[in-house]
Amino acid sequence: MPDSVIEIARLSRAFGTKKALDDVSLSVPRGSVFGLVGENGAGKSTLIKHILGLWRAQAGTVSVFGADPVLQPAAVLRRIGYLSEQPDLADWMRVDELLRYTSAFYPNWDPAYAESLRAQFGLDPRARVATLSKGQRAKLGLLAAQAHRPDLLLLDEPSSGLDPIVRRDILEAIIRAVADDGRTVLFSSHLLDEVERVSDHLAMLHQGRLILCAPLDQIKARHSRVVLRFATPQARPPAMTGAVFLNGGDRHWTAICDSSRIAAPIAFGAMGASIVEESPASLDEIFLAHAG
């Protein structure tokens, strides 16, 4: 059994002249909570659709549980729970009908667990899906994605546009999934505080390219925020190998540094700059620095 649930190698996809994914390679370890971040149009949903087998790779390969999701959709999808930003649920069904219908596809469906989630989410089993609010639809989608205790839970912007209570439910679902041994969660989000709270691995996409992919602790450990003072005024941002982002003017500049590239203090000293303050960079700052 491979240690990675998802293996993506050199995946590329273009829509016309626009490159939605450009040579993306990543590996999602079993049992991890893998956060996928990036600005709108960065390629997060496209990547998730490739993992689901809804898009065929134009170049590169996608392997989920060691199988190609396009060639063996039934075998792969049986082990996945999927929730998208706008759950595409049949409006004409009742809540209980939707659950009954969905349960038929998953041999591991746990009726008791489904019922406990339904009660927890406050969903009326006789209510039509069409009459549910956006938050209730998200909860129903989450229930349907989770009740078969999938090996891989895929959440595509699950909490986008939802109130804090529903967002909390979604985060709890992720935590619950992790609590079950060996289950893996991959979720994309704009909300970096959410990602920071629950993820242990992070991948950052920017304009279709994977610019960062590592365990979250490692990413945070190697990025720092450094306030610099130069001896002479700097008319333009000084070129520094270790800094991924620079902001400021005159003698005072703030840099977000990636220590994996260069030992920043040595580099700054060589340029005639002294470090005024150094602190860990927040995920927001790291994201903005890389997506700049």
Binding site: L52, G53, L54, W55, R56, Q58, V70, P73, A74, A75, V76, L77, R78, I80, Y82, S84, P87, D88, L89, A90, W92, D96, E97, R100, Y101, T102, S103, A104, F105, Y106, P111, A130, T131
Partner: protein, 490 residues
Amino acid sequence: MRSPTAALAWEIWSRSRTAVWAVVVMTAFGFAQGGITASPFTELVGMLSFVLLFGVFNDTELPIRRLTLPVSSLQLVAVPMALGVVSIELLYLLWTLPRGDSTPSLLMAVLFGVFMLCFQAATWTLASFGLVRIAAIGALGIVFLAIGILSSNERSTAVLIAGAGAAAIFAAWTFVGRVRSHGGRAASFPLRAIEVPAIGGSIAPFESPAGAQAWLEWRRGGATLPLLVGGLLLAIAPFAWGVRANAPVSIRLLTLTLAMPLIVAIPVGVAFSKPRFWSDDLSVPDSLAVQPLDSSEWVAIKMRVAAKAAAMSWLLVLAFVALWLPLWFDAAALRQIWPGWIKASMLGGAGVFVTWRLLVVRLWAGLSGSRRLYFASGVSAVFVPIAALIFDDDIRELFADPGRLDLLFWTLSILAAIKYAIAARLWLSSGGVHRSRVLGIWLAGSIYLTGLSGWQYGWRGLPIVFALLLAPITRLLAAPLTLARNRHRP
């Protein structure tokens, strides 16, 4: 565009400008040719232009955006209705004026105008009813057609019909007003509570994924055919009672009733071939695409649902006929048709197979996600039978000419050979379960139809008939591949 009326009219035009231009071109062609009765071809084009015009005004629901426009409910309703009536009357005049030998009928003009009003009122007020709306519009069409054929006093009927038009305007106006003031269709419309009956409504778990998917397919579109057939039978019943003393009309009505599942299966089959019956979007929705079900199994389920729909529709028709014939069918007519009951029973069996065939033969195009393929398939489904009826004389001439018949034979033979070659290739690439089921059913049905054809018309040339009947199996074998292509987009 300063006035709301102009803006509303512009919206209708811009939404369907291609169809509007097509109607204009067709009508200009018909006018130049000398009107709708100039030739079978102009007749076909004329019919198509009327269908397209109704398509232009097929405003499936009132979008919320339009309900929030700062115009009165009356204006919101009156603008599309007035445009619809003016357009249909103009179209009727342009198609009938050039004939010269007779003037346009007042009753027909009123019928067209009022049917347009009722059509629009039904599309809005029954927007959330899906199947019921289609059945209601179909029944309305039959009623208007029957009035046009049976009416003896043109003027008084026209006045009565015009009254129905006023009622349609009032109903639509009231409905829109209520939706706006109460804040939603669901809350304001009491009929919303009526639902299409659930098949297998209990909440017991499904035995298999295929069972669950079959339930979904049935609820979403499979039930349409039996529901429509049932609705039309209800509409036919009073006419059957009305003409019970008239043997020729009764026999014609009986023939129409027996042909009805086949006729209705043509448009229903076009819609059924799509991933979502009621949607214009041909892509496979994510919620279905992520179900752990193989594409070939999905196609097999759709075919099973189609078989259930065909069988149920014919059962309804047979039950209706079984009541009609002994209870109120004209006795003289019954004596006239009774000797042919064996043949009729055999044809009934063929009817079930052909109905199923009409429901499934376009799956490959509908599931492909290609609009062009789907459109071409749909147009051919609806207009090839109409063209065959209209060009009946030309077809007979063709069959009487051995030279042209030979050419047709060889052309068809080459096409059939190509199809079989493709079928052989698809056979190797399609899933085992799917191909064995399809081949079994298709083979049995084709043998049955061939046998029937031999019994009716003699056994000469039967292998050719069999080869032609069997050839569309290529399309069925292609369906899982086109679905997989749509599901896993390249």
